[in-house]
Symmetry: C2
Subunit: 233 residues, 2 copies
């Protein structure tokens, strides 16, 4: 590493060659009792038959997270979404013809609002657990995003982000079970969720096949409190 032994640390540093930089977003939602993720076809010349996560350019006038959010909202008709930075991938082996840096975000959107206006690309929802062939290192990215989702679900309260505004406790439990891949005890689940003060009961009930279920609502003011506490140790 002799050639980078003396880089000064001042802000006017510029190197001649700069890699290409882009944003990517891994969007999760629940659809047909399955965890799904949004994908679009890759360039058929470079990655024939592969899919990849939606990519966006970095807009110099906008913060990274705002750019990701705006671009996503151009693709999906969602009023709200949960968005956080996942990881930044870089390195020479990622793309055959360019040095590419991808700042990858992680998004959760609600079941009731994932209406797509198929703008420009042919975006599709695909199974997140058994995805189709993905281009570049996107399979690795998906694996990491799933791990992060499961981890967050155990420690925080993000599960609500995948549900409509009101939901029954059974729906919430099914969401957790689907993502964690294990069954949970009904009574313990309810106790922990309710004791956590994360959700509040509404006055509504949903009738179905059996006794109607009370509907609950997420308490947005409870977020900060929840983030530091373990829900499922």
């Amino acid at each position: 590493m002799s050639e980078n032994a003396k880089f000064p640390c001042h802000d006017e540093n510029k190197t001649g060659i700069q890699p290409h930089i882009e944003l990517r977003v891994v969007v999760f939602t629940l659809h047909e009792d399955q965890l799904q993720t949004l994908l679009c076809p890759s360039n058929p010349a470079t990655f024939p038959g592969s899919l990849e996560f939606p990519g966006f350019p970095v807009l110099p006038g906008l913060a990274l997270e705002q750019t990701a959010e705006s671009c996503l909202k151009d693709l999906l008709d969602v009023p709200e979404l949960y968005l956080e930075q996942l990881f930044t991938y870089g390195g020479p082996q990622r793309h055959p013809s360019q040095s590419l840096i991808s700042v990858v975000y992680f998004a959760l959107i609600s079941l009731d609002a994932h209406l797509i206006e198929n703008q420009a690309g042919h975006y599709t929802w695909q199974s997140a657990e058994n995805p189709p062939t993905l281009a570049m290192d996107h399979a690795e990215i998906l694996t990491y995003a799933l791990r992060r989702l499961r981890y967050k679900l155990e420690y925080t309260a993000v599960g609500f982000e995948l549900l409509p505004e009101t939901f029954s406790l059974s729906e919430l439990q099914k969401t957790y079970e689907m993502i964690l891949g294990e069954t949970l005890d009904k009574r313990n689940f309810r106790r922990r969720i309710l004791q956590g003060g994360i959700i509040e009961a509404t006055e509504d009930y949903r009738s179905g096949e059996g006794r109607p279920a009370r509907l609950y609502r997420y308490r947005p003011d409870a977020v900060a409190e929840v983030k530091t506490r373990r829900l499922f140790p």
Copy 2:
């Protein structure tokens, strides 16, 4: 956001304007019973009197993490270091004259090996808890890095990365107490650390003022196991 409504998702996307991208590293070490971080002076024309974290260019032929590691090893004479990605900062407000994206890493280096060869810049160790004036958003970055360090210390075993190869349990405990900012119970600390199987006793003792302390060594093979288990719930 009408102008970005139709970005295709193919890999040959290129926008004309690309922001400048750089690497930064927040390095922590223990020195004189204090948690310290490596800083260098900012460009005096842009940020007079401020310091900033060491910055490196992105080398297109090398992975981001390897670049950060190589460049750091050009600055510091460390045989080993702990390095992980912290966060990627971007947006229009970060720098007065350019759109700048900083992929920031987080490093821990051992007490016994932080000999600096002051190459090029005037790198100095400064208190991490009460840092001097930092340029740009580097104060915010430091706050986040400290939070991450404390968090990791509670959940994993990174504390060893800040100590020499062999160390006494009291030294380890002092390290934890210094970083967490609270005192820990000696017996509980020892039990948890030893039960975790993270360290192993050596045959050596260190004589000092009082009864000699048994020296321990980190077990590198125990890392994976430890990462998933909580040490300090």
